[in-house]
């Protein structure tokens, strides 16, 4: 199998456009018709075009922002640097946001990295494990004296995303059926809760305080400590109002009281 393994390694490098072809050709027979190199390049096209298309499907808003043709070139640069390590392409592009940060041709689109992170968060939520959200009235059933010790657990689909740019507005404005809208890039930062309480992924803008509160809860801190975190971020944080809004948004998948 050693020779087969060597051939496959060289073929892989050829497909990702980073290897020579000489030793490939010596392992192959002439079939007549189109030359062997032309035949090998069919495999390279299948790999690069198929993976670029899969990356585009995973990052539809990034693709729409830069255009199909530009996206395909950018995708090929990304794939050469970060070839996929999993056969299931549902989660392709884990390193794509970071790649975009350092990718000179998109330096004039500084929000693109965060749009890519939002695309990833959406895909994560879409495919995450199903879970029944906590009923919004759950607090009324608990001992009010012990609410400070309450641990609220996020849904498996939850992702939190903060950006200096209004990425939720950019994301919504670039959905296939979105009407044309002007988006002001200087309209302030976005703090987003992305999750899937049932079958539809939801993107909720939340306050900075609520974002900090959710981060603390996701780190398994009890309600009292999470409230402290929120107040440290925003002294005007209104616990009762914010918690009711998060419960109404079906943000939690379970709770525990020690």
């Amino acid at each position: 199998m050693r020779r087969v393994r060597e051939f496959q390694t060289r073929m892989r490098d050829f497909a990702f456009d980073s290897g020579g072809r000489g030793q490939l050709l010596s392992a192959l027979a002439d079939c007549g018709g189109p030359p062997t190199l032309e035949r090998l390049s069919i495999h390279r096209n299948t790999t690069m075009l198929g993976l670029s298309a899969a990356l585009g499907d995973a990052f539809p808003v990034v693709r729409r922002l830069v255009g199909e043709a530009f996206f395909e070139r950018m995708a090929q640069d990304y794939l050469r640097a970060h070839p996929p390590r999993r056969a299931s392409l549902l989660t392709i592009g884990g390193e794509f946001p970071g790649f975009l940060t350092g990718y000179a041709p998109v330096a004039e689109l500084p929000y693109l990295t965060d749009v890519a992170r939002l695309d990833i968060a959406w895909t994560h939520a879409y495919h995450a494990a199903d879970a029944e959200p906590l009923h919004p009235q759950i607090l009324a059933t608990l001992d009010p004296e012990r609410l400070g010790e309450l641990c609220l657990t996020p849904l498996p689909s939850q992702r939190l995303l903060a950006s200096a740019y209004p990425v939720d507005a950019i994301w919504r404005g670039n959905q296939p059926d979105a009407p044309d809208a002007e988006i002001r890039l200087d309209s302030g930062p976005a703090h987003l809760l992305i999750h899937r309480p049932d079958m539809a992924v939801e993107i909720h803008p939340v306050s900075r305080g609520a974002f900090s509160f959710l981060m603390a809860l996701a780190a398994r801190q009890p309600l009292a400590a999470a409230w402290d975190s929120a107040l440290a971020t925003d002294p005007t944080f209104d616990l009762a109002g914010e918690l009711a809004a998060l419960l109404a948004a079906r943000a939690f998948g379970g709770y525990s009281l020690p």
Binding site: M1, Q8, P84
Partner: protein, 308 residues
């Protein structure tokens, strides 16, 4: 996740295997068709999914698939296991495949006689391997590993090819027949792939059909391909699953059914996916082509029954 209690010799446990779909035309399940498929429920024999599209933990894909399973037998077709790969089998991927099979309880499970992964890098392509005594032992061991993990028999699909290896002494149908003998696996005969190989690398398709163990064939695949002609008049056929089944592939399908018998037959259409009624139309055409092939067969020329 559960493992088989004991290593099963699948040939000895045929009775434990699920009932295959009817020996008629089925279609690949496409996201854009799922709602219409459930609403109109066209009479196709089965639907086939790519296992890799259902490897998420939950969400709408599983919800849709559960609903569709209520009405159609499902076939799980893996495209990423890289049974022909020379580097170790991706056991995480095999576990993920086992979970899809466990959740879906499909009528058929299939994978490819091909490689798609090298040192952990996935190429999203199915490439042929050379057929030698070494690769035969290697692939047989990986099929054993897969069948043991899934606790069931799988079908192995013949690849399409654009290249031919200089050192590949075993003819492909004999290689497949020997895999069947060693592992108890079955064969998924992709008729379009066979036609594409005949055109591209000179395989004799009718001799191939004669050499394939008919009783091991558990499914056919049919698809369209792209016929590319170069300025110098040479040509290549690219297996892109992007159009209707070509007339000579229908002819080869009739020849296959006449020799081997009717089997569940999938219409694959993965690029430029057409409306659902076009896919169904192709599946029903497969039914009538198979019926014609069986009717034209000489008396006494009965094909071997499939081993289920």
């Amino acid at each position: 996740m559960t493992l088989c209690a004991t290593r099963v010799r699948l040939t000895d446990h045929a009775a434990d295997q699920p009932t295959p779909p009817p020996a008629m035309g089925g279609i690949g399940l496409k996201a854009r068709h799922k709602a219409l498929l459930l609403e109109t429920r066209p009479p196709v024999a089965f639907v086939e999914i790519h296992a890799e599209n259902y490897m998420g933990a939950g969400g709408p894909p599983h919800r849709w698939l559960s609903a569709i399973r209520e009405h159609y037998p499902v076939s799980v077709h893996g495209v990423g296991l890289s049974l022909g790969g020379a580097t170790p089998l991706d056991e995480d991927h095999l576990d993920a495949l086992a979970l899809v099979v466990e959740r879906t309880r499909p009528a058929l499970v299939s994978e490819h006689l091909a490689w798609s992964q090298s040192d952990g890098v996935h190429m999203n392509d199915l490439l042929p391997i050379p057929y030698t005594p070494d690769t035969l032992a290697h692939v047989a061991a990986r099929i054993d590993q897969t069948q043991d993990r899934l606790c069931r028999r799988i079908l192995i699909e013949n690849p399409s090819a654009y290249i031919r290896y200089a050192d590949s002494p075993i003819p492909e149908p004999e290689f497949l027949a020997e895999l069947v003998r060693r592992t108890g696996c079955g064969v998924l005969l992709d008729v379009n792939n066979l036609f594409v190989c005949a055109s591209n690398i000179g395989t004799d398709p009718l001799a191939y059909l004669d050499a394939i163990p008919a009783e091991a064939v558990g499914e056919y695949h049919l698809a369209g391909h792209h016929h590319r002609i170069f300025p110098d008049g040479t040509e290549i056929r690219i297996d892109d699953h992007g159009s209707r089944v070509a007339p000579p592939v229908w002819a080869l399908y009739r020849a296959a059914v006449a020799r081997i018998g009717a089997r569940p037959t999938l219409i694959e259409w993965d690029t430029d996916v057409p409306p659902l009624d076009v896919l169904c139309d192709e599946a029903w055409r497969a039914d009538s082509e198979a019926a014609d092939a069986l009717a034209a067969r000489q008396p006494g020329e009965a094909a071997d029954a499939p081993r289920s």
